[in-house]
Amino acid sequence: MPPGLKGYPARMAYEGPRLPAARGPLSAGVREYLLGTGPLPPAPTAERAAPYGDDLQLALYVCYEPHYRGFAGVSPDVEWDPGLLRLRAALEQRFLTALRADTPVRDSVEDALAELLVEPVEGTGVSHFLRDEGELWQLREYAAQRSLYHLKEADPHAWVLPRLWGRAKAAMAAVEFDEYGGGRADRVHARLFADLMTDLDLDTTYGRYLDAACAETLATVNLMSLFGLHRGLRGALVGHFATVEITSSPGSRRLAEAMRRAGAGPAAAYFYDEHVEADAVHEQVVRHEVIGGLLEQEPWLAPDVAFGVGATVLLEDRLGERLLGDWRAGRSSLRTPPTLHTPPTSEKTHIS
């Protein structure tokens, strides 16, 4: 059982997301430990696990979640439990080593970003697929997978703020303020995504689709938590954020078209419409002010920024291949397909 803070009564969170089902010995061990029913898995188990596999990625995801919303039935004190942090470090080491080995090295940040700033005439990514031939069930799956991030949109990046200063800090805070709705709760991007999920007849409860999400999705979110929670990886976090903002605008336009074509509803289209416009601005601010400001102060972080860009592209491509592979084969990309609240025959027709 993870110890509580000395001198404080044991606290337990009764509300909150449910702990996910195990996908192997690592995630089973973490789950048992958090529930107080077993020991943590020994370190060699982490060293042998497939770095991008379901078991390691879920175990790592569960290790990070106490920093966000925690889990029902688990003490919030586990956030700083030394045993859990030790295991998390072993999992991170395995993940990060694989990322460093698999991410193509670029000569400069400019080189790394230049590739993102060219739009393919005949794109083959997930957003192209969804725009051209995506069916409603595939849009729902896409939203369920992405809900792991979008329901805490911008949160992993907020951790970088104390690690920046001057121009980079001011610009990063300004973009985050925009992500958080500019001071208006109904415009917080995570809220806009929940509205999209409602249009798609999905459950908007935080953590609801953790069990359903594939390993490739977990890895994209774990990457942000990894970069966000380590000051030593602040360059990579900034590179990650730039990649998301640069690629978001054109991708969001295609996804907005996909939502309209499938008759998903006005909030579903609005979420992506808002991102077309917002991220065209964010891209400029992140490239010129955040990256520019950071490298002006700490030029030695340039390789880390480029690594953050490359690792993000690597994991996004892996997720894209997984989704398209499943959908082209007529399979669900989810481990447990979402149940519809309304029968699939009752097609929604929204007029906007």
Binding site: V118, E119, P120, A174, G182, S249, P250, E277, A278, V281
Partner: protein
């Protein structure tokens, strides 16, 4: 108040390839006399005229390959 922030001229960043970056909020008057408003902290105004969300940038200025 000589040092009031409001006294500072509004900054607009120009770049050879890309949108005009203007400190928000802004009200833009279009050719037909209609106006559009954005209260974002900064707005990106399309200069390539290819945007489908004109006058706002939608990254349509990017090279295609």
């Amino acid at each position: 108040m000589p040092n009031s922030p409001a006294e500072r001229p509004r900054r607009i960043s120009v770049q050879r390839k890309g949108p005009l970056l203007v400190e928000g909020p802004v009200e833009v008057e279009l050719e037909d006399g209609s106006t559009v408003v954005s209260d974002r902290f900064r707005v990106a105004l399309c200069t390539c005229r290819r945007s489908r969300r004109y006058p706002w940038c939608d990254t349509s200025h990017r090279d295609r390959a």
